[in-house]
Amino acid sequence: MSSLIALFAELLSYDFIVRAMAVGILVALCAALLGVTLVLKRYSMIGDGLSHVGFGALAIAMSLNLAPLEVSIPIVLFSAFMLLRISESSKIKGDAAIALISSSALAIGVIVVSMTTGMNADVCNYMFGAILALSRSDVYLSIAVAVAVLVLYVLSYNKIFAVTFDEDFAKATGTDASRYNMLIAGLTAMVIVVGMRMMGAMLISSLIIFPALTAMRVFSSFKCVVICSAVLSVICFVIGMAISFGISTPAGASIVVVNLAAFILFSAAGKAGLKI
């Protein structure tokens, strides 16, 4: 126990780790909140699709020597609204269309990278995350995005519940459901772009999907699921970071594995009859 505390004390003595922790906790929190709605609305694939689009956008931005986040935020936002439209229209099979878009974006990104900069450290950072390489401006942007997401989510909580639970009812009784769908898609896009820097394009969607699924195993009211997934996401993030620091594993992957462990634990607890 004391060695664990010593590990944390050592962790927090580094400035860059404190920065990473602050951003990470905020992004983990936001991702978990949005994740509950995305999973329940069967939009989980949108998160995955957006992260791949984000990677493609970053690759293009880097090859043109443009600021990566400033280029990718509008592109990913635009794709989020596109993917939402595709999921809503029943004529096209939504999941297939998303898979199509996400793999195409990834392919374009990889080709652009190989033709210009090559697979350098920067590209790898965006694919698999480099939480310890966050610059000061990354930190500010991430904190601004995270705070905006938190505030909007809390203020719109009741509407988000109504639209998530029964979109038709919400629409019929005077709630502008498509506005809240756009809000969710937009916020998700922002969180993904910011989170990609830390978790990597390949792993960011797990931060969105895992906590919600895990919380749903045990908790049975919407409010409890939201709160549990937010808390769980932060705890898993901190443990993942500690493991990554302690035994030098990649941060993003460690966080995902801790989330997986939590999911298995909660599933077992749910199966064993623990329902709250």
Partner: protein, 231 residues
């Protein structure tokens, strides 16, 4: 209150509803009857603004969307959704609040009252996903009543209810009407439609009958259908 003029709906070029006109006056209980696939649900969805009619128009007079309560057919609501009964019923008040607002005391009192009326207060803390079909139907009806200030729209309200509960539910709607609310419902149950409805609209893609419940009871549609119904 509501006026529909020549409303048509078509899916992929096939007409589901063909040139239907009707009015709903304040205090009416309009029952929409007809066989499966006769366009009842499509017509109701048009009135609710969930479906765009391919032609014709629907106008509201002295009614806004946030004054409508809606009971959908159950199939539309997900079965594994983690939500407590209390949260579901309270969400009926969502439409009357602007963005960025929270539920107040009046909202909670209204939700409590309707849970009490539907006899689901004891299930308040239970999860919607753990309820039986009949319990879910009552919870959704409580939500519809919580939302309805002026108009209650019901799509097959007695599905999944046993006969005693179904008759309780009709009595409840009757008392809502007496307190000044308007009801529009889709029903399979012709006997109850004639008994509780004030107006009947019989759809077979077109409106084949529109008139008072008494007229309908005396009409060939009713006798013909009842004849096969009773056997």
């Amino acid at each position: 209150m509501i006026s529909c003029r020549n409303v048509s709906v078509s899916y992929d070029g096939k007409a589901a509803v063909d040139g239907v006109s009707f009015d709903v006056e304040a205090g009416d209980c309009l029952c929409v009857v007809g066989e499966n696939g006769s366009g009842k649900s499509s017509l109701m969805k048009c009135v609710l603004g969930l479906l765009k009619p391919s032609s014709g128009e629907i106008t509201f007079d002295g009614l806004s969307r946030s004054e409508i309560g809606y009971l959908p057919q159950q199939a539309g609501v997900r079965n594994d959704f983690p939500a407590s009964v209390c949260e579901v019923v309270l969400s009926g008040r969502c439409g009357r609040h602007g963005p960025f607002s929270f539920y107040g005391k009046a909202d909670k009192a209204c939700a409590e009252l309707n849970m009490e009326r539907l006899g689901v207060t004891s299930l308040k803390r239970k999860s919607y996903r753990d309820l039986s079909g009949g319990q879910r139907q009552r919870v959704l009806l409580a939500r519809a009543l919580t939302a309805a200030d002026k108009l209650i729209m019901l799509d097959e309200p007695v599905t999944g209810l046993d006969p005693a509960m179904a008759s309780d539910m009709y009595d409840l709607l009757e008392s809502e009407r007496r307190s000044g609310k308007t009801v529009m419902m889709i029903s399979h149950d012709l006997k109850s439609a004639v008994r509780y409805g004030s107006k009947i609209l019989h759809l077979q893609k077109k409106a084949v009958f529109l008139g008072s419940a008494e007229q309908y009871a005396a009409s060939d549609f009713y006798r013909g259908l009842r004849g096969t119904d009773d056997e």
